[in-house]
Symmetry: D2
Subunit: 395 residues, 4 copies
């Protein structure tokens, strides 16, 4: 059943085209990704914020921005232009020049965005419908490969401990029991069925359970996730190691996040928030070697729009019992931090697919709060893992 990576194009002269299929395409991250890809393809912007554009990867053959076609699923009836305009007016980002120059491209891609299928009756029927959408997109543009990336709003925490651990068993359990699984999971399942690499940028369940790994293995598909590391947790993943490397004892670590975008609105529902908090908080103990008191909160503050602001207060003890403090304030624009990572992950997942990588890709750990397939949380170690994976030549 395994689907081979892709048919090599017959002529070396024609560069391949690839698809980026976004779950939640018209959201803030999805729209910024589309705007950025179009602007990069036109040479209007530098690839600032893109890991795959770092000099150490200069000789790696990644798919070029111009090679990408965007498609996706979306619940709300809107367009890239509307989402971009809302981000611009509310969060005061993006230049008119870039918006104008990419407008036509974005409008063309709008036509590839299909209505979300996850509520279309039985679970497996929805999966089939989504996979069909993706395959139609592939045929339409004659795409060498597609990567499906979940950038939709965070779902409530979901207990997956009762899921069967094998792919086929999971499917029949799904059919038989009428159980509802998260929309993100159905979309992930569909991506694999359509032969696409899959990446989950959100804290939602997506493909983080044993049967999905089995599903990927059966189809010969690579996947990655979970929950992009863009701000406060990114800082934790370099600061916690610093405290550890100096043997300074962290007594407590408090993080207070405020933001006003759709993600924030969704998080103001306690069920969704729990999902996020869990992944933000777990990694401290792993990095420090003990569990200090920690507290993370997220509040929806409308006026901040896409500007996520985080205050961290770290209380620590040094030599002779002296207690000291480090505080930080991070003021980052969420969409602008996440979008380049979407492009990175698209390129890296497509590379993995080309190399025939099957199952979870632990080398993507540096992008995630809850990396799949590894428990390494230190950014510098994760980055070494990425370099080793990308730069290895024994293929």
């Amino acid at each position: 059943m395994a689907i081979p990576p892709e048919s090599e194009s017959l002529s070396m002269n024609v560069p391949r085209r690839v698809g980026l299929w976004l779950i939640g395409a018209h959201g803030g991250v999805g729209s910024t990704t589309a705007l950025g890809l179009a602007a990069l393809a036109r040479g209007q912007i530098l690839p600032t914020g893109m890991v795959t554009a770092l000099p150490e990867f200069a000789h790696v053959i990644f798919d070029e921005p111009a090679a990408f076609v965007i498609g996706g699923h979306e619940l709300r009836p809107t367009t890239f232009a509307e989402s971009i305009a809302e981000l611009k007016s509310r969060s005061n980002i993006f230049s008119e020049a870039v918006i104008a120059a990419t407008a036509e491209q974005l409008s063309e891609w709008d036509a590839n965005i299909c209505p979300a299928r996850t509520n279309d009756g039985p679970a497996l029927a929805a999966v089939d419908a989504m996979a069909a959408d993706i395959r139609a997109f592939q045929r339409q543009y004659d795409l060498a490969a597609i990567v499906v990336i979940n950038v939709a709003s965070t779902e409530p925490v979901c207990d997956s401990t009762a899921y069967p651990t094998e792919a086929l068993a999971f499917e029949s359990w799904l059919e038989r029991s009428g159980t509802t699984v998260p929309a993100s999971t159905l979309a992930a399942w569909a991506a694999v069925r359509a032969g696409c690499a899959y990446v989950n940028l959100t804290p939602s369940l997506g493909g983080r359970f044993a049967a999905f790994e089995d599903h990927c293995r059966r189809y010969g598909i690579p996947h990655g996730g979970q929950d992009a590391k863009t701000g406060e947790t990114l800082l934790k993943s370099v600061l916690a190691p610093m405290f550890r490397m100096r043997n300074l004892r962290v007594l407590s670590w408090v993080g207070h996040n405020i933001l006003g975008n759709r993600d924030g609105q969704v998080l103001s529902d306690p069920a969704n928030k729990a999902s996020k908090l869990r992944t933000k908080d777990a990694l401290l103990a792993e990095m420090l070697g003990y569990r200090p008191q920690s507290h993370v909160s997220i509040e929806y503050i409308e006026s901040l729009d896409d500007w996520k602001t985080a205050w961290d207060h770290i209380h620590f003890e040094g030599f002779l019992g002296v207690k000291m403090t480090l505080q930080l304030t991070w003021q980052g624009c969420d969409s602008a931090l996440a979008a380049p990572l979407v492009i990175d992950l698209a390129r890296l997942a497509l590379l993995a697919r080309q190399r025939g990588h099957i199952g979870a890709i632990p080398a993507l750990a540096c992008f995630f709060k809850s990396p799949i397939g590894t428990t390494v949380h230190e950014l510098s170690q994760q980055y070494e893992m990425l370099c080793e994976y990308v730069l290895r030549v024994d293929l």
Copy 2:
């Protein structure tokens, strides 16, 4: 001329005793080091803040705290007890219990503190006098080895470019020309003559010039430095790599430091301040790969005493030109941050001496703002260098 590491004690049953000779012994860092060593030896405190006490080094045979005897040079007529009392009352650190239990030991060590010799006429005469002090200390306590560590106040910036590059030429130049070299340099020269490992915790020149390296090689001595990385620069050495690993462009990095201890007072002299600022600021470009606008200032604010407070404002650009900000405030007690590193460096330099290491020890880079013998500034890379050096078994 090389002085062999040390004569092995005849019986394995008697643990060796070692000396820690502090230049500026009665200052804040020196006194805290003495208090801490005495408290550690009595089992009164945990080794929090000591790198050599991390689990990864559990099987390395470092000299135990109880093995150390403290001696040193000091300009001001004072005692450990007085310095400790001043730190306690002004900066509100140290517990009465620890002070009481170590009082006798500290008073005993006071007897080993000699008046500074650096103004005793001709430079080489001062060197001889200092070396004689150290050798007398060694004989008195029958010490297997001594490490000399400079923890004195920061000296004015010193232009060493005209120094001859060979040890003997340097000595005759010194004698002939009547040139004054910094006190820290004479002390370093004396340490090597006395056969001791040498470490420079301060931004002063000490042994950072070619003739000193040659001097060490002739005597078979290891040395390390320069300028301990205890606060703001420590943070830079993990945060700058974070920005680089995410390809986020640092536009400007501003650091404002305020402190009220003797170090701060000395730094309020612009000549001394320049010395400090130079080492605090240089490493950004090395870590980022380009030179953002940066500004570091240090001001003496008396009420803060030993509590060095640093505000850093980092302005950076992400995807699509969006400008974002990270701010930090570090509130650290200088002496309590530096003292455990003094003990670490004493143990590591004595280990290097035992292993017969000659010349600069690049593996100590993680302790310094301006490491000697390497240009690596990233803390995680530096830490790997340390682990590799300490844990290597091919001895």
Copy 3:
């Protein structure tokens, strides 16, 4: 039934003695108040942090620190010495010299601390028992007057809307219905019965309902409250007016408080926390003239002990729609901030009693988050009210 302020002492040569009866005497605030009063009486400390010690009040005849005798009620079996020792060791405050010099006095006052009576059967019986304790204290020390101040832990929010509005009706309702009212309310009721001025430093209900005002009027007693303004809210009461006086539009105001003392522990119970948050948040709209989005959170972080740390993020709009930000971090020691206000309020309530003031004292507004008898929240206006009240000469 009104109890006359106090019998004038026959001779002017003997200064009067007064009582300070603390509800929750052995808590952090109570113990720090006792330590401070004793130290002030001995001339060991300056009255820093005391409003009544400001130069503008130099000619007002307040009761001197040495005139005070401390008594009170307390639930937990402990002593001032134990509480002070715990504060010292955990929060690193207070000098040994002050503790030693006041130890005997504090131990003497310990004998005046009675077990709390609020669970002794029927409500009115508890009231009677408490009033009897206070009267016995007055007789024992021959006190000219007593002020009762509630410094106990915050109680859960309590709905007092159904309380009868007249004192006698309230008492019979209490007797008849067997309803439980908060312990703070019973203590307040008892204070008035014993002829004492009453002040509520906490967010608990205490005497903030109509029948209590009537009760005070019948007994001719002054009272004040509620919820001392010591940190974040104090800042709000000068910063919100600043924004208003500049016509800058506050878009959102977020406050995140972390603390680790008993107050913090009690607040980690959501019922108690609600009580606190309500009073911290209400005053913004009153000062600004509109209601911006606001959010206040309080979390118990053990390692901070008595050091309450608050981060405030204020997002505001200026001319031409430009959005700007002010952030603050307040690091204050709760007990040391509240204790001098307890002494101030004791002196001011005793002054009001001497002047024959009956009912709520709106002039105390500057001390409280929810002042009784006024809706003025701006600190400078409140301070003018205080000055006018204290300095008026038409008595």
Copy 4:
């Protein structure tokens, strides 16, 4: 010689037109003022940030935005459109809609901006030439009155102690001695000669010396200044009183300002910087009643453009000697903070002129770091002075 306020228009039906003559018209503040006035006149924006638009002044008859015509002097050859475009692109402020709708008006006003005259030979000749420019402007637009406001870049500190104290003596001294006085002073002198009210928004000398006050009195002219209070100092003027009203002892107050606009560039010249620092720092002692250690620094950080960021660290002592800390970070857009105050001051100075006010206007104190004619620095007191002045009905 006094010039009467203005000839009343004969018919009440024709509203009067007034002139706003800006020294340094095309700078950031000048251009933002022009943009804002034009937008207000068109009803495109709300008067957020304007003090004169507060509800308490609703019944005061101020000149309406539509009544203003802008003229001025400017050194650099540029236009409002260019300055606005630069502010927009560099500092990411102003909406396209507002810029488009006001473009024609601003271009019309550009024609009223004359080249600066201050280097045109002898001082008094320059004064005459400037006064002639202003009078020509008045005739051209048939303006009822004009207010001249200095919004030019900060000049170096200037020692005016040797200036003669009477107007005529000053003029002959100027003629005789060939002494150079600051350009801001010549412009102020010219304003008065042309019969215009004068306001100095900058720390430059302008009219802050005795002979100028005499000059104003001879011409019957009101004036105000000096150095608009828009950010860090505004905060000081509410926070210092808070500490005083609580009797908390400020131990040290450190302010570090970073900014990247032309003002910042000018300030990177130490001579100009001194001028600014002096006015920023002086008011603490006046408000607190003692002089804590204080330090203010300003650095030019290009990437920040018009976003002035200030970090303040306030170290203070409370009861029982406990040391505590307040830190703030202010991120404000300089032009957007200053421009509405320019409009306020124009309206208030024109009101004063109409009322026949002569000499310094102390009631404007709330707008300035170094108010002329008063030593009151507390914002709430200053605001009361303003209200009293504006709302008094005894005219």
